[in-house]
Symmetry: C2
Subunit: 605 residues, 2 copies
């Protein structure tokens, strides 16, 4: 066994335990004995695989599921060279270890948790495709051909050639629709992997997604959580960056990474040709129509791209100004005006605060309860262990934090989260009491598992407090709870008969599913074939079952050949873009990619 030879000396008891387990595991896998391999897991066990074994993003729960996966995949995957990557640790009866391994086509790494001598959780992830490694570090390009050649093209010539040709004379292998953080991070990974890619985006400049939002917007996640791949923010970057600063960074990033990013470009339609095995995508670039034929199509249009407008009676007869939160550009114009904001999640709070800062008279209409977590508390209790200056100082780089995060199966993640939010309730008891006293309806999720589970399950239903809650608590932002009955010519009428006179109404009513883009750009038929995006199937509010165990359709093969969905927050865009990029690269290179466990579609859209 390789692991034994490469383990650091001297070995601890934890190392011995892990090496022993890896030895047995390797023996079973070499013998193609799925049953024996599965038997090395505890009865309560999880194997989360990111592309390495399943060419999918998949969590196998229980020995039977593990055995079935191995039976299906082992002959093709041919895993080997299991090793302990660094000294194992032990605490509270759980032994943890970072491991390395290879398969036929992949170099991978992972994480193992043993309870006694049986595996409780195993994470396996693909790092790179053998023979198709990124040209970085010792593999970086030389940049100049030493020796002199007549007719040589300079870097600038070649860059300009590529921009002029790709999508015009030469078809991209991959087309990414949507050039926000998701499309950009994916584009960077594909660039480094040598996958010819075009990213199209309707805005004038990369970063405009951020720039065009309301003026006071800052990232709600701290800097350590927000790095893009390859080019981390410099270490003076503020904890919470302003929207324009992030916008500028994204624009700069596309230049540094030399992405083929088509601004001012909209996709009008896309259809897949099952025979030709490519897409026909009609685009309009700077007003001019054109057609692209990529082999792979990625919708990176974002979770927040299709505004969810409510359908209240009378919306058309309102005499003032009204718009969806996504169109809200800032409070400057509303000084002295009466504003009603319908909704009580992140955008609603930010917009209420922004309007108040600019001297508007603001009322928030809360229709259902909201989870509120104070930013500082969230940082300290939830993210701080993995994403903070202290974490970095203790060796938990962003890359490592991503892997630790990924190592926790979604099924048991609520159990990891609940104590955090229990502590939050206690710590911020006064704060919550004041909010309640102001009439604000609070929740901590259906099962008290808090913010991150809400994000994964439904992508909504919370506010990370950066100040607006105090304005609500002390009445500077007025609060009304209730159902909206209708919109009148002069304002908002609630079911209890309250009338809220308004000069402006902001509908902070959320966004439609990413899948809506498949319906809009491709067809309802394809959208239905693919089914719902996002959500775990937790059978909690807005996340209907059955249990899926992973986010539906995200970063992995869908029921529509050559159609992919990419998105999420900066953390997800950074980390999961790797697995999506490797799947695309493997297909481009003709590497066999036998997908295990393609999701069933329970929720056509």
């Amino acid at each position: 066994m390789t692991a034994a030879m490469r383990a650091p000396e001297p070995r601890s008891a934890a190392d011995e335990r892990v090496l022993g387990w890896l030895g047995h595991f390797e023996t079973a896998l070499n013998a193609r004995d799925a049953a024996a391999a599965a038997a090395l897991f505890a009865e309560d066990c999880y194997w989360r695989d990111l592309v390495a074994f399943t060419w999918n993003i998949k969590t196998l729960e229980g020995r039977d599921a593990i055995r079935a996966m191995l039976d299906a995949q082992l002959d093709a995957v041919r895993p080997r060279h299991w090793e302990l990557a660094e000294a194992a640790t032990e605490a509270d009866g759980v032994t943890e270890a970072w491991i390395g391994f290879e398969t036929e086509h992949i170099r991978g790494r992972g994480h193992l948790r043993l309870k006694d001598d049986a595996a409780w959780t195993l994470l396996t992830t693909a790092c790179e495709l053998k023979g198709h490694e990124e040209r970085s570090g010792s593999r970086r390009e030389k940049g100049v051909e030493h020796g002199v050649q007549q007719g040589r093209r300079s870097w600038l010539d070649r860059r300009r050639d590529d921009e002029a040709e790709l999508g015009i004379e030469r078809q991209p292998y991959c087309l990414v629709i949507g050039g926000g953080q998701g499309g950009i991070a994916l584009g960077a990974r594909l660039k480094r992997l040598g996958v010819p890619t075009i990213i199209i985006d309707k805005h004038e400049r990369p970063g405009d997604h951020w720039r065009k939002r309301y003026k006071s917007l800052h990232l709600h996640d701290p800097v350590w959580y927000d790095h893009l791949p390859y080019l981390p923010f410099p270490d003076h970057w503020p904890v919470f960056a302003a929207k324009d600063k992030i916008g500028d960074w994204l624009e700069i990033y596309t230049k540094v990474m030399e992405l083929n990013y088509w601004t001012g470009t909209e996709c009008r339609s896309a259809r897949y040709d099952d025979n030709a095995k490519h897409w026909t995508v009609e685009v309009v670039r700077d007003g001019e129509a054109g057609t692209l034929h990529p082999k792979q199509l990625v919708l990176a249009t974002g979770m927040s791209a299709i505004p969810n407008m409510p359908d209240y009676p009378g919306m058309d007869r309102f005499a003032g100004e009204s718009h969806h939160s996504s169109r809200h550009e800032g409070g400057e114009r509303y000084r002295g005006k009466r504003a009603v904001v319908i909704g009580s999640n992140n955008s609603a709070h930010d917009i209420c605060a922004d309007l108040w800062e600019h001297g508007a008279d603001v009322t928030m209409v809360q229709r259902t309860s909201t989870h509120v977590a104070r930013s500082e508390t969230l940082m300290e209790l939830s993210l701080g262990g993995l994403y903070s200056e202290e974490a970095v100082a203790s060796g938990i780089t962003t890359d490592r934090a991503d892997m630790i995060f990924a190592s926790i199966p979604y099924r048991i993640m609520p159990e990891f989260q609940k104590p955090v939010y229990a502590a939050m309730k206690e710590r911020d008891a006064d704060f919550y009491e004041r909010l309640r006293a102001a009439g604000f309806a609070l929740d901590f999720g259906d099962d008290d598992s808090g913010l991150f589970m809400k994000y994964l399950r439904r992508g909504s239903g919370y506010y990370i407090d950066v100040g607006a809650s105090e304005l609500i608590a002390d009445g500077r932002i007025k609060l009304k709870r209730g159902r909206v009955e209708e919109i009148t010519a002069t304002g908002v009428k609630l079911a209890d008969g309250t009338e809220l006179p308004a000069d402006v109404i902001v509908y902070a009513t959320g966004y439609g599913s990413m899948n809506g883009w498949a319906a809009k750009l491709i067809s309802q038929e394809v959208a239905d074939k693919v089914g719902r995006c996002w959500g775990l199937g937790s059978a909690t509010t807005k996340d209907p079952g059955p249990w899926e165990g992973e986010l539906r359709n995200m970063w992995k093969p869908t029921r529509q050949e050559a159609l992919w969905f990419h998105g999420g927050n900066l953390h997800q865009s950074r980390h999961y873009s790797l697995y999506l990029a490797l799947q695309l690269k493997a297909r481009m290179e003709g590497i066999p990619t036998p997908v295990y466990g393609l999701g069933e579609v329970h929720h056509p859209v």
Copy 2:
């Protein structure tokens, strides 16, 4: 002693030796006993100080010099808290250690080499000013004020305000003339230190210094040597980047670091007001005249900024095209033309190769011998130990490499360099033989210490071969050796009577001293008061004595109050910008900066 408490356990003999020395050293310094401290050095000894003790860049050679410096500085500097920063090492009778220390106003680090129990070399460097640390890492700004305030200005508002006000309504503390790599690196450090600074540059865009040079130009130094502060190149960056790529990076860098960089701006004149203690600088920005009153003026105009045009008889009657190498934009226009390039250093070689690549008939005129080092050999034998992928893999980051490099006193640096070039001669014997056979006059420096010493002593006299030498060896680039007698209407006439017919003549005849800028922008009087820039005083060709031991006038106080010179290659711009920035910040904050050993001026210009 603090060192004893913080040393790693268990201690090696090397650790014990260093800790023992540091203990004695600290005791002597605490007692203000300069003689006792000096006695801890070997007879043959060097103390190189970068700002920490001398508020200067200074190497003290021998015990007497060390004692004199300590006598002068100890009362003000008040050093303390000497500690071993990591485990010491021992090889060939020399014990090496990284150390930390503090002074009254500075947190510093350094490097110590002991021979037996006496110090052979000591490096002390300033890292940061106590109470004025950069706001990075755990000190980074929060970015958003949590809590809501009416009338709050966004990041974008504040950035725009700053750009609109600095230099117009508010005077910068520091004005940097020249926005190449040097001005940019310094500007970034000053930004992080909160020193209001404007960088002015005549070009349209940051990076144009690189973009506007000849098409085939690449960096001659490898990527690991070229990082700017704070924002390293991503790890796919090519070993030798093309000029346009570096130009783009510099432009991007000014944006990321939010520098106040005035493009299209020229300095017309500058004079210092001894009473008001500020400069009056006349500038023209986008065609409009204005006046700035900075407290400090930095000339970062580059070593290669004032073209050195020769004065050959008949230059004015040449019927073809002629220009200095700095104006050479590329060989495209010279296909089929006869080109004569006068000079045989880096630019001459690059331009000859570029012309040949574009189909010109090229002759190089070599007037004096040249040092040629093959790029790959240089990488492996000279730079590789400190600046390479292997170095990074073995823990020698760029920061650490800079410190190791800085730890070698210039007096003994030739002894470190000679074996490298002896090995080079042997390894590339065939190559050199072929060059000699083609008539090329070679040297390895007056004392065979090679390229880097030539760079430090005179900043010229060498070519890092990336291909042109082969063209010379095989005659594709023709070579003529000799003195230029005159320029005729049709070409170049040499002293031996040879006539070289030419359609174009390129004068690759080097650049004037940086000091020329002081004469041009300020006055000849100030230029003479300051004296020569660059060079060590080695009494070798083009570097007249007496021995200075450091580069004259670079990055340190000059004989003109509030006038500073900054420049050099990317490595020097990166590393020495730190010390210059700290000196400027200390003055801005009113920290006492007693300068020890301000250079004598032996060479007015």
